[in-house]
Symmetry: D2
Subunit: 442 residues, 4 copies
């Protein structure tokens, strides 16, 4: 059965928009910037530009376009990231050596793929092809976010610490901006005042091509939840500074054992991108995509670039805990998807507002990925996608922690309440922060 | 309120038995054997003998005996394992340098503590002292198991590979012994034939001093479980050999990404203690506490000394999965605690029997710790013990996996259905194996 | 006293030539190529372009030009390599993050320095300024050689293994080209047929500004030498292949203990850049600056990219030894400086010729740096240059081995008989090979 | 030709003395002490006891006693240290796992070998057997020194820092003992007042069985030496403390580059075994074989447990340099072999005396091994011993530095002017210190 033209048409517009957004983000960067790979988690931007095209070529064009001519036969293995079913690939750390193919060729590769996908969409492809294109767009958006994350680290690593772009005029907000006091919202899942079973995740509707979820969000399934409370907003830099000032990094009783050892081995004394700076009132400056800024300017904004270990230690110090991913989703599923996301172009978390509607937690979407207390595992009866695409999410289900809600560099169309991000608990290069939770009245 | 003498009296007998069991296990070992520390997970046996005494001295005698005279003031910090609240301690890797205090002094230390605890128990101590003694005994039993585990690795590391003791006459069982075919038992938690909510863990009864659970088993709480099936017995060496022979260690699609990388980096090609041996029919020999034995002798016994990654890969290869810790507990809670445990003195897993009662899975307790698919986290509303004892379990709740059921070197009195053991997913020096699970009819 | 204009004038021409040679070598490279840093020994070419300018700015312009305006104040520390007396500098491994300053600015920096040096030379500077410019030119030539060495490794590391430039038409020479049989030349230093004392090194003439030697070549001093023999040519790939084929990499008796351990840890089975290739007659292909080539094409050329450990093991296998640096210098000092050097543009070692004059060893200069058996130490009464320049050579006098004679990427004007290059014995990314020596008749 | 009985007889006495000395040194140690291996350089004492017996068994009994029955066939490979020609051996780091064979068996092994060597010597063996026994005794004495060095590190590593034996009554000497002021002795090798050629090393007399030198001391050969001066005594702790107090560990210009990096990576701030101690006047305590002692007690004794890098940096700070090994030997060859050696039983360096004869440097033998500036290489025409014994010294001739003169734990009969010890420049667990040198008037 062929798909209705209207879906293909709207998907084409979306495809062109998403592909264009990637290129637009790179506009302020030089060809040399695109070469930098400054930490094991990151890749050069140039590689991202190629790999996202490779994804479309491999999983869409190569499978659904008869007699498709690949742009270059070597690109098939050269820009494979980690799909072992497809054969050998270069080690990740070698990506910084990819001066060839030259940038011009990478850009031509993108155009080649854009043209081929456009032609495919203009010719009423099968449903499965459409689904794969949707997957490719979600993949591209993930990599757009990674580009923002990676280039921040790359520019910070440069001893000159250049800015990606100049700060907007209102960066850091009105200097009188103060985050509202922390408040708590109570939730009693299940039948009123009784703890109970809630439904988590999503079971995809095979007929709704536009509706998308990664395989790790499936299937929708029951989970038992006791009553709990969730903080009304994210934890701020000012609150985290109090943790630092009260010797949070020197008190082992606040830390998981693995966290303490990691923190000591790495020499952490503050979030990533914070540096002591005697020239500021607070004694700290913070590197942002707009360059180094005094912490004082952004002390009311959500604290960012924390590891899970730091988020967990902070929560213990505060007398509370991190939410489970199920608690978070249960609440977020009832809220509209809006917030400080990539399209806002702030490129940094923003303060909570005092004018936000008072009946629900704010900042659930955007600003910072929120560390939960939940290890990343497959949901009951979880089935990875068939074939090489099964490697997308499933093989990472060990020693990682789930984060929820997206950040200020997440495209808005990419995030949803059921979305599960995941990183090792010692990861800090992401825009990652926290929201407090506590047990409800029993 | 004072405790009834009868509890103290029975506890005294138990105390003397447990302490004696530790010493008895060491009888075949030389003072030099007690010095060896052959991997980062292990400690010298001599250190275990001191540390278990330190535990009683620190958490019982020092708190509940007025004017208690410690055996030696330096032992307070010297034999602290990881309780940072109590002050600094030597790095774990230094324990192999503890030639002083000499063994004689360690044994005198044990007797000193035994005498003091005996006297305390003879004088009707407070309930809290009794509870601490019970905790100390559970702690001693954990370390007795660790002694067995660590000395196995120590003797194996010695290039001569000496045996701990000679094999019993019937080791490896009747050569005709064949494990029964794998069968499945179905479970539908909750209301008949309907998935539902079960109760997991335990909420301690503060008045029942004898009843014990570690804090990580608390509190009892509801968990939602869908129908599932559990294998009738543990996976055998013969079954695991088929996985090896079908290139299980060379097929990335079977492995978690972290598992694949670990396996390749470590060069694993089989479980720990297996070595290729052209002189055996199977091509393998296996080191046991009775020295190296041809795999052929024990091919029907449960496979042992697997990492989580190997257990998980095997399950995927077999078309099934590992059980969750809740599934396991739900089943085990209905079974008597019996099996091939330390008191059997086999010191190695035994074959399942064809004569076992057919209405439930066998080998749930003893033989091998069973890797589950569950990351180790705190139960909802989990509260660590107050003070330094809060470091016993809670601070390890990251990047570890739960194992259930005890092994052939676990004391019988130490294991129960709610017991949660935990290790990093790459750990192999434990007596760890697996049981398969699968989803129930939906 | 002012210097005669003619010296400054000729120096200006030389300055412009040397600076131009660096730029010319970079012509085939893209801005992205200039960013790659593919091993700890190497730096990005872009960094070399800046650092060599920094050297002139720091040690000439900043000291000898009144009111000199540095191109950019940050460059003073940013492009410092290892001169700790001048203050802090970025870690070497960060150089790959120097996307900013952009290449345009680096090129402008070079022009700024060129202009300022030109002006200085046009105004009759002090002798010391002239001497520093000469030093700066030698430094620039060293870095030109490093650029060739580093970009070879960078392009090789790229999984596509692109060539730097296409091979010249006669690459690998006439296919009938066969290196002449190995012959020996005898030397009896001192009075005829009597072992004795020779003079090694150079004591600079302070009035001869043009005459240059690094401080590590000074002072000229007596050394006792016994009679010895030196091979008539360098060791070839074909000869080295015999060592490989006779299990040279598996025979511990041929290797220094540190060499054996290094070789096994690194997994070496052949020189760097050799790869097994079933499609060639010899079974090997070799990466060159002209891309991968069958070993068969170049089997008669000198073997290259050996560590000292491999050169030493080969010599032992061959029943001979490496020469001392004094033996080498004693012989080379009597020969003209000519050979396969950078200006030949072969960019690869060439075969010895059968038409070479028969009365002396050939290939002493150019082709490959020759590992000697001499650890790198200061000559008796060696004094490093004063100030920061004293860090140029002196602080590396431990755990390194001297190499002599220059390679096919060494500028001709840069090499001389007294020149001492030095690298750690495990280094292979240099164009390094060997010449055999043996004891003379006693 | 058979040897005269008198040589065999005197050798037998020497053999029994040397073997007995080893056992006597171990008398204060427990079987557990003998198990400790506390750093990669060290071995357990128990292993030394076995290995020295293995040496006699392998290189004497196995070759020169017909139908010799080895004590145990496994010992042949088990106690091989590094002789690859003899086959595989256990990794060095595994020696700490050698709880079996038990100590009793090791002692029986020693007696077995003692008996067999005694019998051999009683039956007029060949000259070559006698030479091998002499070599075995030198080997045993080396290991006796290593036992002292290794057990010092082992006991220090124990957090209780026990002493090997109590200090002698006069330890640290008369509190009024002050080292004499540093003076210089001038040497002009060769014909009077003219620099010249000296003879270094030794060419063995094949007919003098008792005369011994390691192969690395051979052959005697000419070396050119310029005039130089040598310090009248070793550098003291007080002098080294001044280097520390004047920020010697923070001034990069004083250090070799490799030394600076090593020192920073290791966190060195003082010699090994020095610890800050606010309870002493000097602010330091020093661990000795008699336990920790205030630095004040031993400030006039030679500084000890320095790396080459520290000795070299100190010399540069002092405005002088380290002597070459040839300068040292030239001077020492003219002096009697006497000093603070193992037989003095001080087990720690002693102060220089003001009553020493004024015409020559003192402390040349004993107290501390003196770092020279000379890398360890083979002498011209050096030939290693044939067969496996060729691995004794020759294969270590890279990246090591020569030390001369023996220490307070070197047996007197083991040291001589031509003796060349060698260690990596970062080694500190040896009793290693320094003596200053400078250039003579030219």
């Amino acid at each position: 059965m062929l798909t209705e033209p209207s879906i293909a048409t709207s998907l084409l517009k979306r495809f062109l928009d998403v592909r264009q957004a990637t290129m637009q983000f790179c506009a302020p960067l030089t060809p040399e910037d695109l070469m930098v790979q400054s930490c094991p988690e990151a890749s050069p931007v140039k590689w991202h530009l190629a790999h996202t095209s490779w994804f479309f070529e491999t999983f869409v064009l190569g499978e659904f376009v008869a007699a498709y001519q690949p742009y270059h036969p070597d690109f098939r293995w050269l820009f494979n990231s980690y799909y072992k079913s497809l054969g050998e690939m270069p080690e990740k750390k070698l990506r910084a050596s990819f001066s060839r193919p030259p940038l011009d060729q990478i850009l031509a590769y993108r155009r080649h793929v854009d043209t081929a996908i456009t032609r495919l969409l203009e010719h009423a492809p099968q449903d499965e092809a459409l689904r794969r294109i949707v997957l490719g767009l979600e993949h591209e958006q993930q990599h757009l976010e990674l580009i923002a994350t990676d280039i921040k680290h790359a520019l910070f690593t440069n001893p000159l610490h250049p800015a990606y772009v100049a700060a907007p005029a209102n960066f850091g907000g009105d200097s009188a901006q103060i985050a509202p006091p922390l408040d708590w919202f109570s939730f009693s899942p299940g039948y009123p005042v009784r703890p109970g079973v809630v439904e988590i995740g999503v079971t995809p509707d095979p007929t709704a091509i536009d509706s998308f979820a990664f395989d790790n969000e499936t299937p929708r399934h029951p989970v038992y939840l006791a009553p709990f409370r969730l903080a009304s907003r994210l934890t701020t830099c000012a609150e985290y500074l109090a943790f630092i000032d009260e010797n949070g990094y020197s008190r082992p009783e606040l830390w998981l054992s693995e966290g303490w050892d990691t923190m000591r081995a790495e020499g952490w004394q503050a979030p990533l991108y914070w540096q002591r700076d005697a020239n500021t009132k607070s004694g700290w400056s913070v590197y942002t995509l707009h360059g180094f800024r005094p912490l004082d300017e952004i002390s009311e904004t959500p604290v960012c670039h924390l590891s899970f270990f730091e988020a967990d230690a902070f929560a213990r110090w505060a007398g509370h805990r991190l939410p489970s991913e199920f608690e978070w989703e249960f609440v977020a599923a009832q809220q509209p998807i809006e917030g400080n996301l990539l399209e806002q172009e702030s490129l940094h978390p923003s303060s909570a507002t005092t004018t936000a509607k008072p009946h629900a937690p704010q900042q659930l979407f955007g600003d910072v990925w929120e560390w939960t207390q939940s290890p990343y595992t497959g949901y009951p009866r979880y089935k990875p996608l068939p074939g090489a695409l099964g490697e997308y999410n499933g093989k990472f289900m060990s020693s990682q922690i789930v984060l929820r809600g997206g950040s200020c560099v997440t495209p808005k169309a990419h995030i949803r309440a059921t979305y599960r991000n995941f990183f090792s608990p010692g990861t800090r290069w992401q825009f990652s922060g926290l929201r407090l939770a506590r047990d409800g009245a029993s």
